[in-house]
Amino acid sequence: MLTDAGPAREAALGRLHELLVRIARAEVARRGPRLRITGPELEDLAYQAAADALVSITGKLGQFRGESRFTTWAYRFVIFEVSAKIGRHFWRHPVVPLDAEDWSRLPARFGVDPAHQAEWGDLFAALRQAVDTELTPRQREVFVAIVLNDVPLDTLVVALASSRNAIYKMLFDARRKLRAALAANGYLPDDSSRRS
């Protein structure tokens, strides 16, 4: 029906849009409690996500290969739009500047109680040193934003005009390098014989 022309297509688009709005509203409600977005703003975000997803879907109908139900394939677009819009929201309303560097926050970011931070002082000092000596400037920037400043990855995607895949890969490589450095200096178990 979506590939037809005329009234049949319009009716199918209308039904799909209704479905997408329902999924987008459910998704923002699911994520809502963890976000600092509420009420009408969250509702707007859902409607915008559904509208943009509809545009993406109609432009990519030829890519649907029948590997899943059509609705599941279509829902994927609206879920991605919700993520992207939440990322953009936090870019416009940052809690902490992306490049702030308060290293005293590092132990807490790994769940260490402030009362026990001295116990892990050497480990986190070694981690900070490895961040400075082992990472490329771009990897360091991504590590500081995501790990130290708790910037959502999708927000960093917007801020750096990058892609989720590229930012994740950068952080993935940074994690691997940091682990190797900490293991080489005896701060973490050496598992170089294992494939990880």
Partner: protein, 73 residues
């Protein structure tokens, strides 16, 4: 919490991890398998490894799964 174990868990990478692009490309297929009770993690270990490590992709997966289950599949 043990700071060392939390840090080690975060820094540990899985070489099977396919990355965001590949995981997102197949997310609809993977989510339907999970929703149907099929062993998705055995069929797509690289996607399972990725969704376990990547917060945003894991969140998208949970959202898609909730959408599918909301449809009564």
């Amino acid at each position: 919490m043990n700071g060392q174990s939390a840090l080690e868990r975060f820094l540990r990478t899985d070489p099977r991890d396919v990355g965001c692009a590949e995981a997102m490309e197949m997310l609809h297929v993977y989510a339907e398998l999970v929703a149907s009770g099929a062993p998705a993690e055995e069929l797509y270990p690289g996607i399972e490894a990725h969704l376990r490590a990547c917060g945003p992709c894991g969140e998208d997966f949970e959202g898609l799964l909730a959408a599918i289950r909301g449809d009564g599949q």
